[in-house]
């Protein structure tokens, strides 16, 4: 086993354990902190996949904004949910079975596909994925319309969030 493989396995195990704790911990503040660890694990996976820009965005946007926003919301609404009582509804057994079935099915399909045999293409030294991403996101021949739509969506969501959370 190479060092990268061991690093990937460590990252994967830490991320999955943190994700399991996110969905099972009764204390929601702790769940949010485990969510931050899981998001860090995903950022490390992006680094392993040579998507360094996405790793930085993951840390800045997901951990810096989304997770902190969640912690704020949890603390604002904390009084109504007791941290000790059961935090799952009556269907949790079915939910667990469905999750296990989905994971089993996906793993079965993946192990019988040819994904294991795909070779890793070498990153050429002169090609810069970040410059390519930046150009294609604003290029009329590539992804400028989804990019602008995402911008409008974010603006609309921001205004909508302010209106919805406005007092009265």
């Amino acid at each position: 086993m190479s060092g990268l493989e061991i690093f990937f396995l460590v990252v994967a195990v830490v991320t999955l354990v943190a994700a399991l704790l996110v969905v099972t911990t009764p204390n929601l503040v702790h769940a949010a902190l485990w969510l931050i660890l899981a998001l860090f694990g995903v950022a490390a996976t992006f680094v392993l996949l040579n998507a360094t820009f996405l790793a930085v965005v993951q840390v800045v946007v997901y951990i810096g904004a989304i997770a902190v926003l969640m912690i704020f919301a949890i603390m604002l609404t904390r009084r109504v949910m007791k941290d000790s009582g059961p935090q799952t509804n009556s269907n949790w057994v079915w939910a667990a079975l469905l999750g296990l079935a989905l994971f089993g099915g996906l793993t079965f399909v993946l192990l019988h596909s040819d994904a294991a045999g795909v070779s890793l293409p070498a990153l050429s030294a002169h090609a810069d994925p970040l410059a390519q991403l930046g150009q294609e996101l604003v290029s009329p021949n590539a992804y400028v319309i989804p990019f602008e739509l995402a911008s409008v969506l974010l603006l609309a969501a921001m205004i909508g969030a302010i209106v919805v959370a406005w007092k009265n």
Partner: protein, 102 residues
């Protein structure tokens, strides 16, 4: 070499855990956390397919950027709704928010 299927199985496990969280949790904020886990699993898949596919095409990373934006929008609106419901009805449990349930 880390095989592509390792990443895909890892993402499948993360997605399944997120699905369990969405279906089983009572608290609406915890449900949003499950959705975040699922979106992250999707992003891992997109970036892994970019890395193992044709590197001249950047579609995987571009889609991942769009997913980031959609996740931020979703969590902003979702948490605003949760706080608004908390103000009006003093609950954040998803099963108690059943005014529109037939």
């Amino acid at each position: 070499m880390i095989s592509l299927s390792w990443y895909l199985i890892f993402a499948a496990a993360l997605f399944s855990i997120g699905l369990y969280g969405v279906l089983a949790r009572k608290n609406a904020i915890a449900i949003l956390m499950g959705i975040e886990l699922m979106l992250n699993a999707v992003n891992i898949n997109l970036v892994a397919f970019w890395r193992y596919g044709d590197l001249a095409r950047i579609a995987g990373q571009a889609f991942a950027v769009i997913v980031f934006a959609v996740a931020a929008a979703e969590v902003a609106v979702g948490l605003a709704l949760v706080i608004s419901i908390y103000r009006r009805r003093n609950t954040v449990a998803a099963e108690e928010i059943d005014l529109m349930k037939w």
